[in-house]
Symmetry: C2
Subunit: 158 residues, 2 copies
Amino acid sequence: MNAPLPRLIEDVVELGDLTKSVGFMLRMTQVRAYAQFFRAFSGTDVRPGEFTVLWVLALNPGLRQGTLARTLQIKPAHMTKLVQRLAQAGYLLREVPPEDRRSVLLSLTAAGLEHVERHRAQFHDVHAPAHVGLSEGEYGQLLTLLGKLTFKDVPECP
Amino acid sequence: MNAPLPRLIEDVVELGDLTKSVGFMLRMTQVRAYAQFFRAFSGTDVRPGEFTVLWVLALNPGLRQGTLARTLQIKPAHMTKLVQRLAQAGYLLREVPPEDRRSVLLSLTAAGLEHVERHRAQFHDVHAPAHVGLSEGEYGQLLTLLGKLTFKDVPECP
DNA sequence: CGGAAAAAGTATCCGTGTAAACAATTTCCT
DNA sequence: AGGAAATTGTTTACACGGATACTTTTTCCG
């Protein structure tokens, strides 16, 4: 018997120069990467943003909350919520240092560290070259190019 | 006098192998691309999603709403809202064809077409190679690699 | 010193996008 | 034919993430 063959007939849509826009292509690929991530981690409570925060704190204990936010391109207001949730879950510790009582230093608890260790392998495997349809070489090229992107603004004045 | 030099002192944060994950890198770059887009179009009512929808409809008049949604990786529930808003704004027309009265066919109004024409140039200029710090060649390479990405799932069974 | 300005983080409200349940229509199968 | 199943789009309820305004603390000068 043949496989189901679902959705074989899908209309072809003309996109024009849209496929030549990095903005559009980044959006498309990022959405699909997210979907792949959630499929791979379905059944667990691992979310990309949260896990990334824990990952970075594992490498940088005592990091300031604001520095973490800027590094991961997360806005302060959202970082507050993320941190509250992860602290509530028992994965990280908030500490207000005496030398600057405005700031908050973050570090992992034992549970947080264990959580990172437990999912570290799968986290890196999800988007491995073979899982995204690239060769090792292409994968490296892609990372290099993504790392080069700057998004500087070019003012309209001459 | 010297320039302001703000934010010169920014802590260095160790990211480890995070920078070797396409998922993470796609997320970082996409967020920055969005920011660049909104900066460029500040003062206008142009949003990436909406404009992309109008763009595709300009190239594919009479496209079905569902086909459009699948093409642009937009979920049906959200596409409904997008279409309602754009129809309200007078940019597109919804039409229920007699041969399948479940579906909705979309096409641009004159105002919608004019809107696309008015911002077409800037839309393509925003993320032009020079504005994202890449050479023409690198830009083409990046587009090719992004186009190759597949995000197939690899089941755990051997 | 002492007040103005800046910095860090938080609370509140809003926009974007999704999942799940639903209504309407068409197709499929016997 | 006629009822089950699939398809299409919408409604509703909610999660994610950001903008803005605010509180607390520190810094910056006079």
